[in-house]
Symmetry: C2
């Protein structure tokens, strides 16, 4: 809370999520917000720009800033969010089953994906995600050993990202994700409750640290009926 515009952002975001300001209603003007928070207009505007970028409000010149109702009510893969954060947010029972956890010599495929040099080793983690007693998601994670020296079954069962950020002090910078649909593999059949589905939704992620080093490649394979992706877009 030391950064002013972030605390203003959070304050207004809470008001919106708790329906203190309702969808369609107008926020106080930038002038009024300056007085309310006792900051300069630029600081208010930074907070409002963040809210607008994340789909909470829409600003109209000459009119004001208005609350939208199409924000974070849905399944969010937009942004970088972990399975644990997600299941907690959605409030559903969930379980993680670790099938593989080992430090391996990468094959050509991984050398290319993770831009590795010859000496690098990588952690391979294969986990099935269970929601409402159905195995719905198969996560195949690959971490560069250079940035992740050790990894335990316990960590993999809760949240790897929490471990990386809190214990290892790594800072995630950005990620590129790609969504496609593929035929099911034998691995999918073995680890997932696929019923009669013969295709899976595959989300490939390349995750970079704050210093721009690529440290993770992930393939997240979803049963198609349980996959949903929400995007909020603005016209450039």
């Amino acid at each position: 809370m030391e950064v002013k515009y972030l605390s203003i952002y959070n304050d207004i975001m809470d008001s919106i999520e708790n329906k203190i300001i309702k969808p369609g209603e107008k926020l106080p003007s930038e002038n009024e917000l300056m007085q309310k928070y006792d900051v300069s207009r630029d600081t208010v505007r930074k907070a409002l720009d963040l809210l607008e970028g994340n789909g909470y409000i829409h600003k109209i010149k000459g009119k004001g800033s208005f609350v939208l109702d199409i924000a974070k009510l849905d399944f969010p893969i937009t942004g970088i969010i972990t399975f644990k954060e997600l299941s907690e947010k959605m409030g559903v029972s969930s379980k993680t089953i670790v099938h593989e956890l080992d430090l391996i010599k990468p094959d050509k495929f991984l050398v290319k994906k993770l831009e590795l040099s010859k000496e690098d080793l990588i952690w391979r983690v294969i986990r099935a995600r269970e929601i409402d007693d159905k195995r719905i998601i198969l996560d195949k994670d690959y971490f560069n050993n250079r940035y992740v020296p050790s990894l335990t079954k316990k960590v993999c069962e809760s949240s790897i990202y929490e471990y990386l950020e809190r214990d290892l002090g790594l800072t995630i910078g950005f990620a590129k994700k790609e969504i496609t649909v593929q035929q099911v593999s034998n691995e999918d059949k073995e680890y997932l409750d696929l019923e009669d589905y013969n295709m899976v939704v595959v989300v490939k992620s390349y995750t970079y640290l704050d210093d721009m080093s690529l440290f993770q490649y992930t393939e997240s394979r979803h049963r198609p009926d349980k996959f949903r992706f929400i995007d909020f877009a603005r016209r450039k």
Copy 2:
């Protein structure tokens, strides 16, 4: 180019896309850019923030701004982009076949989707999109008649958005999109070259004008092997 930070944004973006500044290289510092463009630091920063948000660069405190190579090289559905813009950008031969174009009284489903009142009529447009001689995408568009008074087959065959923005003077504000996977419908079978695929990727879009009025609902149904979605995300 009347807005300074936008022209700086475009100038640097061009340098990146034309590889005048290569991936991994450092941009001039904000101080140097101030001098180069003869603007204040805040104006430089606005341009750089835009570049960062769109995945062109990454800024590191104390170090500088660095060019990424993971930007707009791929199939972009992120952002609001039309089929025409897309096929032109990808440089592939494409064709649009208009199957239906009529002004109808909405059913309950549409009344709800488009938040209509009793008197509203809507334009229904059903189009198949052909890429490399295969009918790959089925677009079902619904426009509120209040904002789109007339619509012709000719317009539907080229670009509806171009018509809306240039001829009708409408300004698109933002859109919410949802991606799911569904079983194929009879309509899909009739209008698409599905081969043996029994599922389609469905992209539902709700598009709003700049004054926040909802004017369009679209279902875009894609053959799964031809669907690809790229997302660039930053850790909040």
